[in-house]
């Protein structure tokens, strides 16, 4: 059986990746953000899992706009880094784990989750930026194979926060019967509060974000109780991405230990946050 050893919630703002790619992390504009990541990165560097699951959304790069899956899974051996318009990020392509993908797919479908399968998939900043937050200097390859789980957070109606959490719980059950890995890390990405368009563009809600960073560890039910319209109101029309952290959280134990959190405004037009949860040492 496989065990989730940690969960990492993190923003996936493109400019965070761009700042790293352009060596601006020590710039006064960026250093507070990256200083906040440091303790998490150190802890993670000593706990590389056999495989990771990364929950993210595509931003009109890897998937045609006529097709919007509520939940999808990639089953490829390799995921190419997408060219979002001006050349792909200079980071490694992602090695997949088809065996784990197929195991998850079969168990999740049998558990009543109606996943869409992507046999091939290019991954955009929603996927690669969280990998960079985890592993700033991957060299030729990311630390382990990664399985993508994609969530629709752009097209109304997004899945409910409760459904996202339930998907995570089902992932946890599926991993319990998986023999192909011992240790698993899981990443939930997106957020924190932000809104890109409309008269409310630039909206940030630090009270909500702080509440979220606490509750994701200790009271996820408080977060699953919120309707999608409340996420849009409280976290902004793009801040609803935070529901993807609940997939991550659902795959973990009822009690987890917070290793580290970080919060910074702004990264581009966004509040950026991070929560690193240890699944093995709850009190």
């Amino acid at each position: 059986m496989s065990e989730v050893i940690w969960g990492l919630g993190t923003s996936h703002v493109p400019s965070i990746g761009a700042a790293m790619d352009r060596d601006l992390t020590a710039d006064p504009k960026w250093s507070p953000l990256f200083d906040g990541y440091a303790p998490a990165r150190e802890w993670l560097a000593e706990r590389t899992p056999d495989v990771a699951i990364l929950v993210y959304n595509d931003h009109a790069n890897g998937v045609d706009l006529d097709i919007v899956p509520t939940f999808a899974i990639g089953t490829a051996e390799q995921y190419r880094v997408a060219d979002e318009g001006y050349g792909r990020r200079a980071v490694p392509d992602v090695t997949g784990d088809p065996d784990l993908s197929c195991h998850l797919l079969e168990h999740l479908v049998d558990d009543g989750f109606d996943l869409t399968v992507f046999s091939e998939l290019d991954v955009d900043h929603g996927f690669t930026v969280p990998l960079s937050v985890w592993t700033p200097d991957p060299g030729d390859a990311w630390p382990c194979p990664v399985v993508p789980i994609m969530v629709n957070v752009i097209r109304y109606p997004q899945p409910s926060a409760a459904r996202c959490y339930a998907l995570g719980q089902a992932i946890g059950r599926a991993l319990a019967s998986y023999e192909g890995a011992r240790t698993v890390g899981i990443l939930g990405t997106g957020g924190m509060s932000h809104q890109l368009a409309g008269a409310r563009a630039g909206f940030v809600n630090p009270e909500f974000d702080r509440m979220f960073l606490d509750a994701i560890a200790d009271d996820p039910q408080r977060l699953t109780a919120l309707h999608r319209d409340e996420y849009i109101r409280l976290a902004g029309s793009e801040g609803i991405e935070l529901i993807m952290w609940l997939v991550m959280r659902g795959a973990m134990n009822a009690r987890v230990r917070t290793v580290h959190t970080a919060y910074h405004v702004p990264a581009s037009n966004t509040a950026a946050g991070l929560a690193l949860l240890d699944n093995r040492s709850a009190p």
């Binding site: 504009k29 931003h59 318009g85 409310r200 630090p206 702004p266 581009s268």
Partner: protein, 117 residues
């Protein structure tokens, strides 16, 4: 996109928005490749015609009326691809949507974001 009456100043990309915006968003999504961008630059109106944009959508694109693109069903993730092509930042767009200059908008974000809207 649709502005929900219960949430002023916020666009929700739902079914009706998606249908209305489809030609516009398809055109904007196509700008990911350099070949498409060259075609677009060579004759923007013809390029819009090829994707069957409405007259209003074409005008919004030609005039870089970013607000109108939103109102005509554009999704910000697609609109941003055109902005990138023009060398415009997300802060510039934020300024356009909120009646600020890019510098003002950037300063508002640096000061902790717009917490009062």
């Amino acid at each position: 996109m649709t502005t929900r009456s219960d949430l002023p100043g916020t666009y929700v990309f739902d079914g009706p928005s998606g249908r209305r915006g489809r030609p516009l968003n398809r055109m904007l999504q196509s700008l990911r490749t350099e070949g498409a961008r060259a075609d677009f630059r060579a004759d923007e109106a013809a390029y819009c015609l090829r994707f069957e944009l409405s007259a209003e959508q074409t005008t919004a694109v030609l005039e870089r009326d970013w607000q109108a693109m939103l109102d005509l069903g554009g999704s910000i993730f697609y609109i941003y691809k055109l902005a990138m092509m023009d060398g415009r930042s997300m802060q510039y767009l934020g300024g356009v949507f909120t009646g600020m200059t890019e510098a003002e908008f950037t300063a508002a974000m640096a000061a902790g974001g717009r917490t009062d809207v």
